[in-house]
Subunit: 324 residues, 2 copies
């Protein structure tokens, strides 16, 4: 059975893994992006991780490298302008990795990778129309329509994080303001919590935590313990997301929205307000036509599996979920 | 050569036409919706128009009826919940017309009809990814991805008019507030003009016109003559639309957005601010990846041709633009 090296590049960390064709992650290495200042630094870490994995695996088993990354174009193999990555210029990741490891490499937008993974190995198996939203440092998105990942005219489709949801809203790393991911993402809920703390005089144990130390998990635990501000932070995040999903449900009419990424692990405390505001903001005729479901794959697993699947999709005649 | 009866149902009027397969409208009858109070009234007018057209045409030439309407589901053949139509309950238009005229009838959402028409006979010929927005009484929309009209899981895709663009914004006929079509449509620009008149003390000849008498064409003519409030109304409409197109360009990455309907006839005075705000609100990486173009078909022609094409698409093995 063939296997692939799969790379999931995120704003907080990068995961490099060996993925087997049946959908198992045999081995993985994760490194933080915090100490990485530029692309040279970055490739040192990526090369080291891939080399380590190749050493521990029968090399003839690995038939290629699949890469999922934000702000990239599949056709050119280049990552360019990703607000959350420490790259100063366009990075030709496909040619760099092909040259170094003498293996074919394939690049796909992170959100599209997650959509492919969910469709091939997760909860969207058998669905022809669905969307996957990954709630990590930023907000990633992948759209599948008529059983095809939507790539668009120039391969840039599926960018939702920088949709403006509030005129003159929160400043975003992209330079604009009011982008969806400044509200709906791990960073977004932290910003919401800080805003709510500043507006309120209620006690909260989270007043002891700095913004940089704060995690969505801490907000989740506090909310579960009854912290009303933490609870409100999830309500507000769910409302912002639910309103946007109502719009997307009308546009695409998908069978389901899958929420993935760390923030989605919060379960009902996030999903309940999302579903409530989705339903409230749909036209009566559309109400209830789209479900909000958790990804059936572990955090980052969808993207790793989806990126890896590019390797076997490109090397096979029959492809289960086409990429145009 | 076969021909079809095509019906374009809008909030202001209904057009019934004979369309020939090569894309010509041989004959058409238009009636206003103003005097129509319910579905019984409506079908009297539709039956009369179809009968008149059938009488004047060799009947064996007409092989079916294509219907474009807001807020409908192709599979069921039913119009339901259209905010701008005088229907009190769900209307089974397909079965009613099939029974009356003994011809196969096909129903499609108005925006999807316009997208089909533009793709088969208009400016989108040869494009695989594009969107058509019809700016009439309301705002219609049709999306083509990978050369297929996007129908969605339950056939309801392509609804954009009721996307919320302003929390607590203008009241909409659908019952919600802040919907895109309350700003971007013939009605929307009239509301904008009234708002601008109320905010300003500048002179404007449009202060002599009542809301009901006002038309987008009057605003256009005033703007061309130098009326600064009329000009501002187009600028604001263009900004609201441009901002939304920036979001859609990131999501779908279409090759072009086609603007159709009466308001789009205004030309540069509308297209210039639309394009400006589209570009301003895109991520640098995406900037310039989608054009804003006028429909190459006359007002309502795209929808009439698209609806009619259902008749030959359903009766042929080879279909140029698939509908799923």
């Amino acid at each position: 059975m063939q296997a692939a090296i799969s790379i999931d590049i995120g704003g907080t960390s990068t995961t490099v893994a060996i993925v087997e064709e049946k959908g198992d992650i045999a081995q993985s290495i994760n490194f933080s992006m915090q100490q990485i200042s530029d692309e040279t630094d970055y490739f040192k870490s990526v090369f080291a991780a891939i080399s380590e994995l190749l050493l521990s695996s029968p090399k003839n088993n690995i038939t290629g490298i699949g890469i999922g990354a934000p702000s990239c174009v599949s056709k050119t193999g280049i990552i360019n302008g990703a607000a959350n990555l420490p790259f100063q210029k366009p990075v030709s990741i496909v040619s760099i990795l092909e040259e170094r490891f003498n293996l074919p490499a394939f690049l796909i937008k992170d959100g599209n990778a997650a959509a492919l993974g969910e469709g091939l190995y997760g909860g969207a198996k058998g669905m022809e129309n669905f969307m996957v939203l990954t709630l990590g440092t930023g907000l990633g998105c992948g759209i599948v329509i008529n059983n095809q990942v939507v790539a668009g005219h120039t391969g840039q489709a599926g960018e939702l994080g920088h949709a403006s949801v509030k005129l003159g809203g929160r400043a975003c790393a992209c330079g604009a303001s009011g982008c969806l991911e400044t509200y709906v993402s791990a960073t977004g809920i932290k910003r919401t919590l800080q805003k709510l703390l500043s507006d309120s005089i209620l006690k909260s144990e989270l007043r002891n935590v700095s913004f940089n130390d704060l995690t969505p998990k801490m907000i989740f635990i506090a909310a579960k313990k009854g912290d009303s501000i933490a609870k409100k932070a999830f309500d507000f995040t769910g409302e912002m997301l639910g309103r946007k999903l109502a719009e997307l449900a009308s546009l695409f009419n998908p069978e389901a929205f899958f929420l993935a990424g760390g923030l989605a692990d919060a379960g009902g405390i996030l999903f309940d307000p999302v579903t409530k505001h989705l339903l409230q903001n749909q036209l009566p005729l559309h109400r209830g036509n789209a479900q909000v479901l958790p990804s059936l794959l572990k955090t980052n697993e969808a993207a790793l599996l989806g990126s890896a699947s590019l390797v076997w999709q490109k090397s096979k005649l029959s492809i289960p979920c086409q990429i145009k």
